[in-house]
């Protein structure tokens, strides 16, 4: 186990897999610079720069996957996925079903997501719950380096299409490009254990659809994903000083959702607070409520999410994205 950054762990997973499987290729805008280490090792045929034509190259990645390649197609920021949505909604997600289960689409769609660095509402969305609504795709969101590497392997091994989202506050190079730009005059609320942490020397895949309990507790379940997990852990620290023992669940995979983990924790604590950087309505937080109610578990429930378009101004942004204070105050309300 060495300490590595979130970004290094993903690169490592890709390098490990690409060395073993010559059919893995990377496609996307600027990938020859973004993945310069992979480009210089695997060459321009396997790390291909594309034109700014997301609908064509994501669509192409779908059939390339059907015809024997294993493309990792990058759409840079998940916000830009709207341009390529048809390829995901009507093709990647449906071919297996349309073919009567006979034809697979082993495709990884990779994108950076999330906010907290003042880049405005068109570049800081999360959208994981939105994407997970479409049957037929897996959606994973790592919260630390070991999972970032492990979930990339999970994605690469999965027989169907996977959307792999890396949060910009965790991936140091994204934050550098989009937020820091070599300045010492700006600061961001980067979760240190998310951006850097121990990573095994040889990575292995995280089991699909398996949440991780990051902290045990008996009073309230904080359920989150990505950066949200770290906000929950921080909130749990404060709650502890107020005598509240919070359990923190890192979903890791939005779809499939680890219903068992959510329900077991809900059953135990009787209080569930979902922390979701994606939009509040019709998304992950609602789905968590549904699986709890479906299981017949009686629990108090609240959610701290992004309620609206994310504002540009750092002040307003801070209030809009789920922050530790909002989590603490929602948790305390549930306790009372």
């Amino acid at each position: 186990m060495k300490s590595k950054t979130f970004a290094q762990a993903i690169d490592m997973a890709l390098a490990q897999a690409m060395a073993d499987d010559p059919n893995i290729i990377i496609l996307g805008e600027d990938v020859q610079m973004l993945r310069v280490n992979l480009f210089s090792r695997f060459g321009r045929d396997r790390v291909r720069n594309t034109p700014i034509s997301e609908s064509a190259f994501v669509g192409a990645a779908v059939t390339a996957a059907m015809a024997g390649l294993k493309p990792v197609v990058e759409v840079m920021l998940v916000d830009f996925i709207g341009v390529a949505m048809d390829a995901i909604l009507n093709h990647a997600a449906k071919v297996n079903s349309f073919s009567g289960g006979k034809w697979q689409v082993p495709l990884v769609i990779r994108a950076a997501c999330g906010g907290g660095y003042g880049d405005g509402g068109q570049h800081q969305q999360s959208l994981w719950g939105w994407l997970a609504h479409i049957p037929g795709i897996m959606v994973v969101v790592p919260s630390n380096p070991a999972d970032a590497g492990g979930l990339m392997l999970t994605a690469l091994e999965h027989a169907g299409p996977v959307i792999y989202l890396e949060h910009k506050l965790l991936a140091d190079y994204w934050l550098d490009y989009m937020g820091i730009g070599d300045r010492k005059t700006v600061t961001f609320d980067v979760p240190p254990n998310g951006a850097r942490g121990p990573v095994p020397d040889k990575l292995s895949p995280v089991p699909p659809g398996k949440a991780a309990v990051r902290q045990k507790g008996s009073d309230i379940s904080l359920v989150g994903v990505g950066v949200g997990v770290h906000r929950c852990l921080q909130a749990a620290g404060s709650l502890k000083t107020k005598g509240v023992a919070a359990e923190v669940i890192d979903l890791r995979s939005v779809s499939p959702l680890d219903i068992k983990a959510i329900c077991e924790s809900a059953e135990k604590t009787g209080r569930v607070l979902v922390v979701d950087e994606d939009y509040r309505e019709f998304g992950l937080s609602g789905e968590c409520a549904a699986v709890i109610m479906e299981a017949g578990i009686r629990a108090k429930y609240a959610r701290v999410c992004t309620n609206d378009t994310i504002p540009y101004s750092r002040d307003l942004e801070e209030k809009t994205l789920p922050n530790t204070e909002r989590i603490i105050s929602a948790a305390l309300s549930l306790m009372s």
């Binding site: 059919n23 290729i25 045929d45 291909r48 594309t50 034109p51 034509s53 609908s55 064509a56 190259f57 994501v58 669509g59 192409a60 990645a61 779908v62 059939t63 390339a64 996957a65 059907m66 015809a67 024997g68 390649l69 048809d86 390829a87 009507n90 093709h91 449906k94 071919v95 079903s97 349309f98 073919s99 009567g100 289960g101 006979k102 034809w103």
Partner: protein
């Protein structure tokens, strides 16, 4: 090289009879949803698909039955799929707009324009895994205005991918005359991406075969994509039950439903000036007129042209047609009974 006209005719005739059988089954209520026939486009399909071999791929749109059939997909399992049977090519899950055969690297989609990216992806895989193999995209002239189609042309040309873009110009997209919503020529549009383009009579299977031969050959040799613009006409309309066709075929009955509301709208106060209203009406009439024309007068049947040449050996032609007719009859019977080759193979 010259095409084998007998082989091409047999592909076309088989497809024609198959689709006529499909029409009957659809009319009988045994096929559901929108059924888009490609009667009138057989020469384009045959002239191109006859070049394909193992490892080559096809990206099809909503009108892809002939290509699947000509490529060698088991016809009974194909028909079973249209019938929505578990024995179908896709277990009844896909239906006529979503025909998939992994073995033939053939994929369909009902999203207009998506055969562009699909062919690019197939060709990319070919470049990596099956050098010398090609991918063909079939689509209509309406699809040329879909952004992803234009992006795909740029992408294929940039990466010198082995793609043959085949645009079947029916002049109409559902009810919209494509020239009224398209600026510039599609031929020049393709050429502007640096893609060699050829415009061709879509009923002349020999010419199509030759053009495809050249284009596919170049693609196999790594010289990149080509574009074929083939003009066809399509007497069965956009899909079975096409309201335009219904009106032109049975104006009295259909107009009885349509006319009163239309008349009322035209006479209502508030709205456009009288002249503009008259223009609207005449543009509706003109679409109906074009539909009638395409159906009854303008239909250059690609089969007729070839049949004329083959008539020199009348006996052989009669035998061939007879054989195909029997084949199709048997296919329909087997499909209705669910006796697919797949099934036979499994049991």
């Amino acid at each position: 090289m010259q095409p084998d006209l007998w082989e091409l005719y047999s592909l076309m005739y088989k497809s024609r009879l198959f689709e006529q059988a499909v029409k009957k089954l659809w009319n009988d209520g045994k096929i559901s949803g929108e059924m888009h026939l490609a009667i009138g486009e057989e020469a384009v399909a045959a002239g191109i698909v006859s070049h394909l071999k193992e490892g080559d791929a096809m990206a099809l749109d909503h009108r892809g039955t002939p290509q699947m059939l000509m490529r060698g997909v088991d016809p009974v399992s194909l028909l079973c799929e249209l019938l929505g049977k578990p024995e179908g090519l896709c277990g009844g899950m896909g239906g006529h707009m979503h025909l998939f055969s992994e073995q033939h690297l053939a994929a369909s989609s009902g999203i207009v324009g998506s055969s562009g990216p699909a062919a690019v992806g197939f060709a990319l895989a070919a470049q990596h895994l099956r050098p010398g193999a090609v991918a063909v995209a079939f689509f209509g002239e309406g699809a040329m205005n879909q952004g992803m189609m234009m992006e795909s042309m740029n992408l294929a040309a940039t990466w010198k991918l082995p793609v043959l873009f085949v645009c079947k110009d029916s002049k109409i997209a559902i009810t919209t005359v494509s020239s009224s919503v398209t600026s510039g020529s599609l031929f020049n549009r393709a050429k502007s991406f640096n893609i060699p383009a050829k415009e061709i009579d879509g009923t002349d299977v020999e010419m199509i075969w030759l053009a495809a031969h050249k284009a596919i050959d170049e693609a196999r040799r790594g010289e990149g994509p080509s574009f074929l613009l083939a003009h066809c006409s399509r007497p069965e309309g956009h899909f079975l039950g096409d309201p335009l066709i219904r009106i032109t075929k049975n104006p009295l009955k259909e107009m009885k439903d349509m006319a009163p509301a239309l008349l009322k709208s035209i006479l209502k106060p508030k709205g456009a000036a009288v002249r503009e209203r008259t223009e609207s009406l005449s543009s509706v009439t003109s679409i109906l007129g074009q539909t009638t024309k395409a159906q009854f007068f303008n239909f250059n049947d690609p089969l007729d042209m070839t049949r004329k040449e083959l008539k020199s050996d009348k006996n052989r032609l009669e035998q061939l047609e007879e054989k195909i007719e029997q084949e199709i009859k048997q296919i329909v019977i087997n499909a209705l009974n669910g006796n697919t080759d797949n099934k036979k193979a499994v049991t």
